[in-house]
């Protein structure tokens, strides 16, 4: 069953992809969706057996590469961390599969889309069940590939292609770091097998490597390299630029890949490597600082965006920042807890946004929406639930997980902890603000769309709304249900997590987070309320205010609107110089020098040699016999000379 849960989506993907002419649109939908649903059902059982039954298992499928000391098997590792991830991935994925029936109903290549979705699901499952780093890398690259294919799914759209390439290239930077990290681990430990690495980790806690003549702390270097990989995949500050552009893909894709699952792979990976990170305090502090900065940065940008999907995309970026600074203060469980709740409410928000876009005849600009809540009541309610959960309003899922992260950061204390806490609080304020800005602008006020669009507004079909409702259940209850297990009292929590998360003795920040001053507990709530209130003032009571404010602080506004000029900066620093360099090398170096001497020259020489070899083949028997005799004669002579 464990194996079936992982491989069903792959089989479905192959069937839907390669035999699309046989099974047809509906067949592809049924096959992929059924198989993912079956996986989800099995994931529930796995969760009960592995996580709640405290019965972690590793299933070795077969040996893959054996080369000297390098030994890699295909194996599925199931512990609590994996069980949680498998549950999240399959449940969100099954919702998205179902939703796509409706959302993609007008598309002309449905089987291809469904096949990609299932392929992604399989790769993600491969990633989270990996028992060694090479297999994890396989899944890591696999989800990257599926993400690339799905962002560029509408390949006739130029922007979609550009976005797909951007996602691929930016991720490559991260993957390079990840690969180097894996190499580093292999050099240090001589293995890529996770359990072995974790066992050996304490022995190497103080190992060092000499690089550029300077001695470095090996564990820190490895952890930083791995974190670069995580930054790429999880869109952390610096390598985040691909995520908002990735919204060019179909909305179900954004929900599944760019909100709920793939982007959290980085968080998962770092949590998985907790036994190493715990030994590298510098790396942990870096993770916390980068995470906190991302949470803050993305929230500021989210406040001024006008594209409904981009707002949610920046929000995702910001929430991922939360998860990372939680990890940075050793609150791994809180990070994974937030990952879980976030998967539900963010998928809900994205699919809700998709429902809005669907209703508005593919309009995505919230300035052209407004006043539609009466027409799409169900979607409206779902967006409310999603926003409430995102902003962390009490008793919705986000409240439990996000507050736990902020409390952990406060409890961790020290410079890094308070830094993360401060930025986290600021981000929480903005999160509430942009969430309600989105809600108010989209659904309330006067309709700003033209009459044609307004007359076509319709609630989405049940096949789209049912997944919304199911996800909303997760967005409401997952926090409350999971709180005790994931981040509750030390004994319940440690029993639940088993050996999946490793903490240095005395570093249990989550335990400390249960004993912090009341004001720090209440502060997130206060700022959330303030954020909602501010949004209400801006967009309902005094709609002219935002414009005035933007005018008064024009530089600040533009700075935020242009996403802190990251794209422009990268364009200036990396893209243009490399284009110029590339052009110079292409025209001058490659065209003139290398092509002249190399390919063209070598090609000419090759053809010439080929012609000569052909000439030797005269077809005459005595020529052939002669060549053989000469061959023997030459060899014999060679030995005679050598011997003599």
């Amino acid at each position: 069953m464990y194996v079936a849960a992982i491989f069903l989506p792959l089989i479905a993907s192959i069937v839907a992809g390669l035999f699309r002419h046989v099974v047809g649109d509906r067949g592809a939908q049924i096959i992929t969706t059924l198989s993912v649903f079956a996986s989800a059902a099995m994931a529930v059982v796995i969760f009960f057996e592995v996580a709640l039954g405290k019965n972690p298992v590793t299933i070795t499928l077969f040996s893959w590469i054996v080369s000297g000391e390098f030994d890699v098997s295909w194996a599925l590792k199931f512990d609590t961390l994996t069980a949680v991830m498998v549950l999240v991935v399959t449940s969100v994925s099954s919702m998205v599969h179902l939703y796509s029936w409706g959302y993609m109903s007008h598309d002309k290549s449905i089987p291809r889309f469904m096949a990609y979705l299932s392929l992604f699901t399989f790769m993600m499952l491969m990633l989270v069940t990996a028992d060694n780093l090479v297999q994890m890398f396989f899944g890591w690259e696999g989800v990257g590939l599926a993400s690339y294919l799905l962002i560029g799914f509408w390949y006739e759209k130029k922007t979609a292609n550009a976005a797909a390439m951007k996602a691929f290239v930016v991720n490559r930077v991260g993957d390079f770091g990840f690969a180097l990290g894996i190499f580093g681990i292999f050099v240090l430990f001589g293995t890529v097998h996770l359990d072995t690495i974790f066992q050996m980790a304490p022995e190497y806690a103080d190992a060092s490597v000499v690089f550029f003549g300077i001695e470095w702390h090996a564990m820190t270097i490895i952890c930083l390299l791995l974190f670069v990989g995580a930054m790429g995949k999880s869109a952390q500050l610096g390598l985040h630029t691909w995520l908002p552009d990735a919204m060019e893909g179909p909305t179900p894709v954004s929900a599944l890949i760019h909100a709920a699952t793939m982007v959290t792979a980085g968080v998962f990976m770092v949590a998985r490597m907790s036994p190493l990170y715990e030994l590298a305090p510098v790396a942990l502090a870096t993770v916390a600082i980068v995470g906190a900065l991302t949470a803050f940065f993305a929230a500021t940008v989210g406040c001024v965006q006008n594209d409904i999907k981009r707002i949610i995309a920046y929000s995702t970026c910001s929430q991922l920042g939360y998860m990372f600074f939680a990890i940075g203060v050793s609150a791994y469980q809180a990070a994974i807890f937030h990952l879980l709740t976030h998967a539900f409410f963010k998928a809900l928000l994205f699919l809700g946004a998709g429902s809005v876009i669907h209703a508005m005849s593919d309009e995505q600009d919230i300035r052209k929406m407004g006043g539609i809540w009466k027409h799409v009541k169900l979607t409206y309610a779902m967006m409310w639930i999603g926003s409430l959960a995102l902003a962390g309003v009490p008793f919705f899922a986000g409240y439990y997980s996000k507050d736990m992260i902020l409390e952990s950061a406060f409890a961790a204390g020290g410079g890094v902890g308070y830094f993360a806490f401060t930025l986290g609080i600021a981000a929480a304020f903005m999160t509430a603000f942009y969430s309600w800005r989105l809600l108010l602008l989209t659904f309330h006020g006067k309709p700003r769309a033209d009459e044609y669009v307004m007359s076509h507004i319709h609630e989405s079909p049940p096949v789209m709304t049912v997944p919304l409702i199911l996800l909303s259940i997760g967005a409401i209850f997952s926090g409350w249900l999971g709180y005790e297990l994931f981040v509750g009292d030390a004994d319940v929590r440690s029993e639940f997590w088993g050996a999946a998360i490793y903490l240095l003795p005395g570093r249990d920040t989550i335990d400390a987070a249960h004993h912090i001053p009341t004001w720090a507990v209440l502060l997130p709530l206060v700022v959330t309320a303030a954020g909602i209130a501010l949004a209400y003032v801006f967009y309902v009571l005094a709609p002219s205010l935002p414009g005035k404010l933007a005018g008064a602080f024009r530089p600040v506004y533009l700075f935020m609107l242009n996403k802190w000029y990251f794209d422009e900066l990268y364009d200036r620093i990396f893209v243009r110089p490399s284009m110029a360099l590339g052009r110079a090398l292409w025209k001058g170096g490659d065209g003139a020098v290398i092509d002249g001497v190399g390919p063209d020259g070598v090609a000419a020489a090759t053809r010439d040699i080929a012609r000569r070899v052909g000439l030797m083949q005269s077809g005459l028997l005595y020529h052939y016999a002669f060549a053989m005799i000469i061959g023997v004669a030459v060899f014999v002579t060679w030995y005679m000379i050598n011997a003599g």
Binding site: F62, S63, W64, I65, V66, S67, T606, R607, I609, A610, R611, V613, G614, M616, Q617, G619, L621, H623, Y624, A625, A627, M628, I629, I630, G631, V632, F635, V636, W638, Y639, M640, A643
Partner: protein, 478 residues
């Protein structure tokens, strides 16, 4: 002990010999056309022989007064030979039906040729070696000329026969020199004698023997017959030539070099390195200008033999392991490709030009995809099995310190990639001229089975590697 001694280790060979004669009888006495019946029975015989081989005890045992040896290496090579023979016979049956050739002798010849190959693989004496080699060769000469009414086929048969006789002559001469200078033809005795010093005459004899064997694996400079024979012989015969005899001859090559002449490694290594390099280069460059796909495959197989010989040149367990892995993967690449070549028929007539493949991706996307897989695999591009095939021989060569050879190998495989990719280009980017007939079901099964193996052997390589490892180690006592 009876007069024959213990013949149990040779049970598969005995079975094949009896079955081959029985098949001949069935063919003679069957009323009407026996081609199909004898053909499938022959496939059955090969499969049963395969099981007999697999069931044999994996220990090293000898029979026929030490003339015959059975060990893990022999078992591994025999399974490959039998598999290759069976697959190419299946392809040939379709062809016989398509060409309306009612000659059951074809299958009988395959059985006897395969018997010869199995004898070669198990040879433990220069005489047994010659016996197996000639049994194989005589059957192959007839097969090359099998289409008696075709000038090209008879020319191919005659060329192969004359040059093959020259090679046999060289080998025999070498064997007699070795016998003359060492006093024995038995491999273990030779090994014992040669460990106490090497007369020059033995080295000269060894060079002659190597020349004879190099002819059989069509290594440069004893390769000249290959393109002509491959082009002229009927296509299923070419398919057979390209796999089974190559495996048997290389296995024999390994056994002779690693067995009796293990102490002369410094001497023969130089020759093997040289012919490996030359084969890789000729295989790469020779194919570039070919427009006939069978001729192209001839050069391709010369090149592949060069790569496989790299494993022998390394003269280490890892090298032999790499060679065996290479051969196993080589079978599937070649059988798959030939299944496609055999399916290249326009209006009931076989065509064999590279240009005939133009636009195949549009007329027959499935076949084009499969051929693309084989071409990429032959070029050694991951994630296909052909990559591991090259990887393991290169690794062995580098471990043995043959950097020059490895570099030349990499370069010639880059040149080789050119003509493999040219076929891909012709299929996917050129305008279609004419469509092929629908390929026979059997061909499709073989074709897709082989294509699947390209992935299976990449992802699930461990059993193959482990098997090859054990087979290789059985040649290195202690």
């Amino acid at each position: 002990m009876t007069a024959l001694g213990n013949i149990a280790p040779a049970a598969p060979e005995v079975f094949m010999a009896i079955a081959g004669m029985a098949l001949l009888m069935i063919g003679v006495f069957q009323k009407g056309d026996a081609t199909k019946l004898v053909g499938w029975l022959a496939v059955g015989v090969l499969v049963v022989a395969g099981f007999l081989v697999l069931m044999a005890a994996p220990e090293t045992v000898t029979a026929f007064n030490g003339q015959f040896i059975s060990d893990r290496f022999a078992i591994f090579a025999k399974v490959l030979v039998l598999g290759a023979s069976a697959l190419s016979l299946v392809l040939a049956m379709v062809w016989l039906a398509q060409e309306d050739m009612k000659r059951y002798e074809f299958s009988v010849l395959v059985v006897f040729a395969t018997l010869g190959m199995m004898m070669m693989v198990s040879a433990n004496n220069l005489m047994a070696l010659y016996l197996g080699l000639e049994l194989q060769s005589l059957a192959l000469y007839v097969m090359a000329a099998f289409k008696r009414d075709s000038v090209r086929s008879t020319e191919a048969g005659l060329k192969y026969f004359v040059l093959g006789s020259v090679a046999s002559g060289l080998l025999l001469y070498g064997a007699s020199l070795i016998y003359g200078f060492s006093g024995s033809t038995s491999f273990p005795v030779l090994a014992e004698v040669l460990s106490h010093g090497t007369p020059t005459g033995v080295i000269v004899g060894l060079v002659f023997v190597m020349a004879g064997l190099a002819f059989k694996v069509s290594a440069v400079p004893f390769h000249m017959w290959t393109p002509d024979v491959y082009e002229g012989a009927p296509t299923p015969v070419t398919a057979f030539f390209a796999v089974a005899p190559k495996i048997a001859a290389l296995a024999l090559f390994v056994r002779v070099m690693m067995g009796p002449f293990a102490d002369l490694v410094d001497q023969w290594q130089q020759v093997i390195v040289l012919i490996a390099i030359l084969s890789m280069l000729v295989g790469a460059f020779g194919a570039i200008l070919q427009s006939n796909i069978k001729r192209l495959m001839a050069y391709s197989s010369i090149g592949h033999m060069g790569f496989a010989l790299m494993g022998l040149a390394a003269a280490s367990p890892n090298g032999v392991r790499g060679l065996l892995i290479y051969l196993a993967i080589y079978i599937f690449m070649n059988i798959g490709t030939f299944a496609i070549i055999l399916s290249m028929r326009q209006k009931g007539r076989a065509v064999e030009g590279v240009a005939d493949l133009a636009g195949l991706s549009r007329t027959m996307p499935g076949m084009a995809t499969a051929l693309t897989i084989f071409m990429f695999s032959m070029a050694g591009i991951p994630p296909l099995a052909g990559f591991f095939a090259k990887f393991y021989v290169f690794m062995a060569a580098i471990e043995a310190g043959f950097f020059t050879m490895a570099v030349i190998g990499v370069l010639s495989s880059a040149v080789g990639a050119y003509y493999y990719l040219r076929i891909v280009k012709v299929m996917w980017f050129d305008e279609p001229v004419d469509t092929f007939d629908r390929p026979a079901m059997t061909n499709q099964v073989v074709l897709w089975g082989s294509a699947a193996m390209m992935f299976v052997l990449f992802i699930w390589a461990a059993p193959l590697i482990a098997g090859a490892q054990m087979a290789a180690l059985s040649l290195f006592p202690g």
